[in-house]
Amino acid sequence: MAWYRNPKPWLFLLCLYPLARLFYLAATDGLGVNPIEFITRSLGTWTLTGLLLTLAITPVRKLTGYTGLVRYRRLLGLFAFFYGVLHLLSYLWLDQFFDWAAIVKDLWQRPFITFGMAALLLLLPLALTSTQAAMRRLGRNWQRVHWLIYPAAIAGVLHYGWLVKKDLTQPLIYGGILTVLLGLRVFAFYQKTKAG
C-alpha cells in the first residue's frame, strides 16, 4: 500500500491535529469559559509533547534496532518548534495583547516566562539548520548544534512546572518522561566510553 511505503504526508497531517482541534473547539464553543488560557496551555503542552516525541526517536531506535523512525525526526522537531512559536504568539497576542512593558517585566521577573522564552530561543538555531544544505555545511558541528534540544526540553519542562499553582502532576509526567529519555542517553554514553 502506498501510504504504508511513504507515511510522511500522513504524519504531517497527524501533526496538524492539535491545531485543527483548537479550530474545531473554537467553532463549536468548546474552549471553555477562558478560551485564551485554554489555547495557550494547549499549545504549550503540545510543544512539550512534540519535543518528547522527537527525543524518543533515538532511544527507540537503539532499543528496537529499527532505524526507519529517524526519517520522521525532523518533521516532529519542526512541528514542536511550530507549536512553540504559536504558544509564544498566543502569550504575546491573546494573553498580553502586546503590552510590551508587561511582557518585558514578565521576562525579567518571572522565572517561568524566562525559561519558556529561553527554551524557544534554544530551538531557533535547530529549526534554522534543519535543511539538508545546513547539515552539509555544518558537517560534524551540526550534531553539536542540535544537542541544544536537551537544554531546551529541560527549560520547557521547568517552564511548565514553575507556572502551576500547586498540583505538579502534569509537569512531573513530562519531566519523568524527559528524565527517562535523557537518562537512556547518559547510560548509552557511559556504555560507549567503557567499551572504548
Partner: protein, 306 residues
C-alpha cells in the same frame, strides 16, 4: 425554606438568564402590573431583598460561574468541580459556630438559611491566578451570625473549616493541600458588612461546585480566602494558618487582599482577565472595595502583610 432545592424547581419556574439580567425592568414591569390588577404586593417577588454594595457591572453567566471553578476538593482542573461535585451530599448538614464565644451553637443548614434575611449581592470576584468574574450571590452578612454567638474578648480571629470527607470529595484523596481546607479572617474583617455567608447564586440554591451548602465570600480578597462547604466557624485568639499558607508560605499570606502593587512571587497581579472579555483590565486595589475596607489596614505595610 426560603430558597428551593433544585429538585423542587420545575424548569419552567427558573427565571431565564436573559430575564434575570434584565430583572430591574422586569420587576418594574411586574410591579406596574401588580398595581394595575391590585394583587397582594410582593407576592411575586423572590424571597430576598436587594442588598447594598452590589456592583452595576454585568454579571457573568450561570454557565461561566458554574463550570470554571477552583475547588481542589473535587480536583485541580477548573472543570473538575462541575464534573465531580454531584457526589457531595449537602443534606443533612450542620454548621458549628464555636470557640471564644458565650453562646456557641450548632446550626442545621435549613434552619440557618431561614434564620437570617437573605440578600442578593452582586460582587466582583478576583482569583489569585489573574482572572475575575462578577457574581450575583445570595446570602447574609457573616456579622449577623457572629454577633448572635457573642464573641468574648479573646476572639481576635475567625477560622473557617470546610468539609473533610474523601468519600464525597475525591480531590482529598491526594495531599494537594493539608485537608480540611482552612481559612481565616481577622475579627474586624469577619464583622465587616461586605463579608457574606452565601447560600445561593442567581436566585437559586448554591450549586455544589460553588461551595454548597454554605460558603464565605470576601470580595476584597483573592478568591481562595472565601472558604467553601463550611462545617465549622471558630472564634480564636491566634491568627489561623490557612491551608494555602501552609502549602506555600512565600506565595500566600494571611491577608491575601487583592493588591495590584504586590505581585505573586511567580506572576504579576497588576491586571486581570474578566471571564468573557478579551483584553485584560487593570486590577483595582482591594478589588475596587477600598472605600469600604481600606481603613481596616490603615498603617499596615501591605507588602509585608500580603
Amino acid at each position: 425554606m426560603l430558597i428551593k432545592r433544585p429538585a423542587d424547581i420545575l424548569p419552567s419556574e427558573i427565571t431565564p438568564e436573559a430575564v434575570y439580567r434584565d430583572r430591574r425592568r422586569f420587576i418594574q414591569g411586574a410591579a406596574a402590573l401588580a398595581a394595575l390588577t391590585a394583587l397582594p404586593a410582593g407576592a411575586a417577588l423572590p424571597p430576598h431583598k436587594k442588598g447594598l454594595y452590589s456592583t452595576s457591572e454585568p454579571p457573568n453567566s450561570f454557565k461561566e460561574i458554574t463550570t470554571y471553578n477552583n475547588f481542589y476538593e473535587f480536583g485541580t482542573d477548573k472543570a473538575d468541580p462541575a464534573a465531580n461535585a454531584h457526589r457531595l451530599q449537602t443534606r443533612p448538614w450542620t454548621v458549628s459556630i464555636e470557640g471564644a464565644c458565650r453562646k456557641p451553637k450548632v446550626w442545621d443548614i435549613d434552619a440557618l438559611i431561614r434564620a437570617f434575611p437573605l440578600e442578593e449581592r452582586i460582587y466582583r470576584l478576583r482569583c489569585v491566578e489573574g482572572w475575575s468574574m462578577v457574581i450575583p450571590w445570595l446570602g447574609f452578612p457573616l456579622a449577623d451570625l457572629l454577633k448572635q454567638v457573642e464573641p468574648t474578648g479573646n476572639a481576635k480571629y475567625v477560622e473557617f473549616v470546610s468539609l473533610h470527607d474523601p468519600k464525597q470529595m475525591p480531590g482529598q484523596r491526594r495531599a494537594i493541600l493539608d485537608w480540611p481546607y482552612l481559612e481565616g479572617l481577622r475579627l474586624d474583617e469577619a464583622l465587616h458588612p461586605l463579608t457574606l455567608l452565601v447560600v445561593g447564586l442567581y436566585g437559586q440554591e448554591l450549586p455544589n461546585q460553588n461551595g454548597a451548602p454554605i460558603r464565605l465570600v470576601v470580595p476584597w480578597k483573592y478568591g481562595f480566602k472565601s472558604a467553601k462547604s463550611i462545617v465549622r466557624i471558630r472564634l480564636v485568639e491566634g491568627q489561623p494558618v490557612s491551608s494555602w499558607m501552609k502549602a506555600a508560605p512565600r506565595e500566600y499570606g494571611f491577608y491575601s487582599n487583592v493588591n495590584p502593587e504586590v505581585d505573586h512571587p511567580r506572576w504579576s497581579q497588576a491586571k486581570e482577565r474578566r471571564i468573557g472579555e478579551f483584553l485584560k483590565r487593570p486590577t483595582l486595589m482591594f478589588n475596587g472595595y477600598g472605600e469600604q475596607v481600606a481603613h481596616l489596614y490603615a498603617g499596615m505595610d501591605l507588602r509585608r502583610h500580603f
